[in-house]
Subunit: 383 residues, 4 copies
């Protein structure tokens, strides 16, 4: 199988997310980095591209240059990943979708609900993939949780408890640190800081695993460091369209927590607990029985888990392999399209997911500004 | 030192809490069980009392009989513990306080705020101790957390995250189980089920450790099993009088969680994490340093922790020893009173704590019934 | 039920083990401290005894004085606990057994195998109980492990892996610390330091749980701190009379380990893992299934576990409650004897266990001194 | 940087180790799979090679065919990985080294000490790299442990405790399972089963981290399933040339343990504990301080850890990324050679390590067959 041609926008030198994408896209040998616009500074973008092995003509100085060039090449890229600052996602995704490219966009997909709706519509009109990188949903045991819920192991889901609470912005002395400050500045970050940055991952996970969408929510948002205009801690209660109750805590001031993405699911017939920091174990308790430890890679897991797993039981798999499962899904779809095969079943997060997140961000901001009044969390189009 | 004479009401055969009190009261040799009214059935009460070693004349058939007899004895009991069904706490505590006895009352201290205020007033008027058994506050490392906060190790407290979420009422088939059903029946349980049963423990812990009181709260309460009229799951956001933000989750349908009382405290200068199920370790992370594991019994802990600790580091201490620290505090106070010494510093939960809990229960019910509107959580007397 | 009269020798002010015995003996209300010789200094012994509530005539200045007095009293003590320095255990136990007292002796029971044989013989001759305080065998889940093995849940036992490795003597600067130095001085400690102090606990546990006795062993012993004449680290391989293979590591220089008593049992049909520092959970893996977490206090455990358990599931029980189960066993035996009932089934460690440990200590020293040659680990009488 | 051309021998369809190598080699984009002989069946080898994207002329039917063809190509492979059955490693490695190829060989490198010595000599003579895949040494925190020891954080190392004990061969019914049976058959597996398969990983780790080599050892080996001629459980005590004492337990019948590679290092000034199943945390206890949790990816780790780490703190990295660090080391060396630069500092395991392991395997077998007699564990050439 020839490798698919892949392009990357953003993810320059020193970026955290860039290496994760490069590792994940290439990990199974399905994608090869063929083009990139890796920095907002043209010279650096080109230099770093060449350094990563791109040919000089495809180490672009800007995404506009990349778009103009790639769309007329015979060997044009077959997927573009957008890993730029948040407020540029929309225009880049829009431009590439309109030009007929498949897109994988970092979260948040857009800065407004309206933009999100536009992206969803564009992807549909142009019949292009627009995936959003809720990459934690690629973990084998997260997909196994989803499979367990779907096949009824837990019965009806009563309650979802999600957390994404870390302590990396807890130092008040960071008020002037440029790597932190912009996140709490509405001019740069939009209407939400911590919920938009981390909370939407946790909310996506809740939906992904339960197969239910959030309908209404009530939020309590606070800025525990007084110089911040946006929240660094939020508690969101919500309801889902399948009847589940949700509770979601996100924080950036929880000193001592490194990452803090966890998910607990409680149904009529059992409960599940999973944590991103120890992703190879899943705690499962069937009603009235004992807690069991499900190990990634053990025999007789669900097909969804098996196909998302690469090394034998007892060996840790981590985040890059989870992200790689998103890329693997996309590769299978693109390959199917190329060969005229029907689309395979996949689990990658879609533009609809990106849109729902954006609606949730606005709902959280609205509720949070109004003493936690319950608001509709759905995009208008999905009400 | 002669043992103090102790009486127990409730805690009969098969009771869960009775053995815990008997073990804890006697553990340090400070109290000796001298009188009891251990069951609501007089014959059983007397029989079980004798079985436990009481003399026949002090193995009473009812608390009224016990009160009548004890108050005229020369060797009357010096402390009475009330471990009866919740709706009887008030009248028994009231009667014993009025008769001049020191009281340790199981939680909840009363069923209404007004009753709580009456108990507080009675204790003050009669200069009697009325303690409430928030026994988890007796753990050595919980007291150490309080000491760390008090001496400023964490700086100002920004956030408290408390949980008391278990899964022991998750079986819908228990709708007709008499051991479970009454808890969700307003006629027997009052206005709150899970919050009143477990949530107030977690809320007391938040106050105990931070030294701050809850002022306002907003609650989201649900009954995930449809036959229940009272909540089996609740999320409570709150604010404290020292500026801390609080988040409290309590549940009885979280299958796979055995007990689930945990506390996380985040301040300007560090974070703490503790769990009742592993009470001998405390996770402490000073800002910008590494997580450290504080061990109960290690050298150079706070005086509060040292005096609450009985065996050497590395050996587990559990719940009975935590409860015993409440009794130990009471013994020191009663001994001081008997000998005319000044009252020692102690940390046992008081009737004021019991009253605050009751105000919180009503606030949770009120907020929960009104879509989470923020309400005052304080007893009227403390506003 | 009247309390049994209990005496304590040793365990004076500042002792680590004294408080553990006092808490444990009194915990269920079965024993009452009536006599004591608590210190080797007569005045201190008497003073501390009175302080603990003894009447002046039974707060003895020495064990000899105590023996002389108690054996002629009508209300003589019904059990004596010996918690003195190791090299005095034999003569005290011998004297009290000969005088007709039941004895609970701290480990090691004696300093030589010959002494151990004499104690066993004396207990048999005088029909007195001589228990040895391998108190960790009192944990509910340890007894449950034994029950699981006995009823065949694991099939034949293939392998036992036991550890008792901590780091509390790892500081070379402690070479002159009197609390540490004597332990590595043959003149005071005998032929073994760490194995005799901690290793025999782990070896007793291996025998207790499997129901098998150690027959042969090979030891590798080292002194990692050069000033020490006795071992601070040892690895012992052994064979058991039911066919199990054993591996036992004990250390006092394993910095970062607080206590370190753990037990793993592997049979044909499953494996078990337990750690003293988290004694309320037991990890059980049936062959070809998943690891399950057994919780102390859960429903449907073995009778042995249930009767060793005092508080509800999810609440921690610790070491004092484990020790209390040894006392509870003794109380039931003594009560049966007093009332002429048949001896109940109990699980307390016996003088035979103490003797076997002493034989193992000598075998470890012998093997360790001879490059790990395999030696018989049994007392001559049991070969 | 152009990718290096990589070849793979073995690792065919259904292989466990094949995917791990393919992921790891390609993960950083340094190597591209250009040639392979992936199965012992020529047709399958060619078919699977094409399936993996090889051109037909380099999807070879056998390693001999691959060697003959590659050595005369201008674009010959620059590294070959040998992932075939153990008893073929020697001849393949020998042939490729003689033909001037760099080699990465799966462990065990050879079946005899003499073969190992020959490989070491060949690599030296031909100035070719011969690395051995002790891939666990590639974990960032393992390299950090090595760095901590090297810079003196622990002082002199007193004790190393290594384990590689799992339960995947515990089912006696597997006696006839062809995937298991050959491992315990001397005709196919050689003189050792579990120690040669897993124990040498643990022993390599002990040497890697401490920077000391094993000099003497004593082994206790057993076959707990009677049909087995080779050991399924072994305990090895050893001494190292820097004075450290070693203890190593390896097992394949430890039901309930999934992988079981762990390492504990105890020095004069502190202790470390690490487990492969949770590789992103390292427990560090400086003497007389508290246990600290070192997180992979945290600020200010050693350069060795930083360069072995790819994603941000709090995100799990797993085994493929550890293996990729071996490949990354090799890529840097090969690139340096190509460009005439001096060899960079690297940490990959070498043929000398492979030879030492083989000497240890024979020493364990010899000692194990002679009641644990202490034997020299070094290859003759290193004595």
């Amino acid at each position: 199988m020839a490798k698919l041609r892949w392009g990357l926008i953003g993810g320059g030198r020193g970026s955290q997310i860039g290496p994760a994408h490069r590792i994940s896209a290439g990990l199974d040998g399905a994608f090869e980095l063929c083009a990139g616009a890796l920095d907002y500074r043209p010279d650096e973008a080109r230099a770093f591209g060449v350094e990563l092995g791109l040919t000089a003509d495809r180490a672009y100085g800007s995404w506009q240059e990349m778009l103009a060039s790639e769309q007329v090449r015979d060997d044009k890229i077959e997927l573009v990943t957008i890993a730029t600052p948040n407020d540029t996602h929309f225009e880049i995704a829009k431009a590439f979708l309109q030009a007929g490219f498949h897109v994988l966009c970092e979260k948040p997909m857009t800065m407004t609900v309206e933009e999100g709706e536009e992206i969803v519509a564009l992807a549909a009109t142009h019949k292009r993939i627009c995936a959003v990188n809720y990459g934690y949903s690629g973990y084998a045991l997260v997909r196994h949780m989803k499979a367990m819920v779907a096949r009824g192991d837990l019965g009806n889901i009563r309650l979802v408890v999600a957390e994404f609470a870390h302590g990396h912005h807890a130092d008040a002395a960071d008020a002037d640190n440029p790597r932190v400050r912009w996140r709490y500045d509405p001019a740069q970050a939009g209407i939400s800081a911590q919920f938009a940055d981390c909370g939407i991952h946790a909310m996506h996970m809740a939906s992904f695993v339960t197969g239910q969408e959030v309908t209404r929510l009530s939020a309590d948002i606070v800025s525990t460091i007084s110089s911040r205009e946006l929240e660094d801690d939020a508690m969101v209660n919500f309801r889902m369209d399948g009847g589940a109750v949700g509770r979601l805590w996100t924080s950036s001031i929880a000193i001592g927590r490194q990452h803090g993405l966890t998910l607990q699911i409680f149904g009529e017939k059992g409960g599940l607990r999973w944590a991103q920091e120890q992703p190879n174990q899943l705690y499962w308790m069937p009603l009235n029985e004992r807690v069991q430890i499900i190990e990634r890679g053990e025999a007789n897991l669900s097909p969804e888990a098996d196909s998302a797993s690469r090394v034998t039981v007892g060996h840790a798999e981590g985040m890059p392999l989870a992200f790689a499962n998103i890329y693997s899904d996309l590769a299978r779809c693109i390959a199917a399209e190329k060969s005229g095969q029907p689309m395979p079943d996949t689990l990658y997060p879609t533009a609809e997911d990106g849109l729902r997140s954006m609606a949730a961000v606005y709902a959280v901001a609205e509720s949070g500004a109004s003493d936690g009044v319950w608001v509709d969390a759905r995009p208008p189009a999905f009400r």
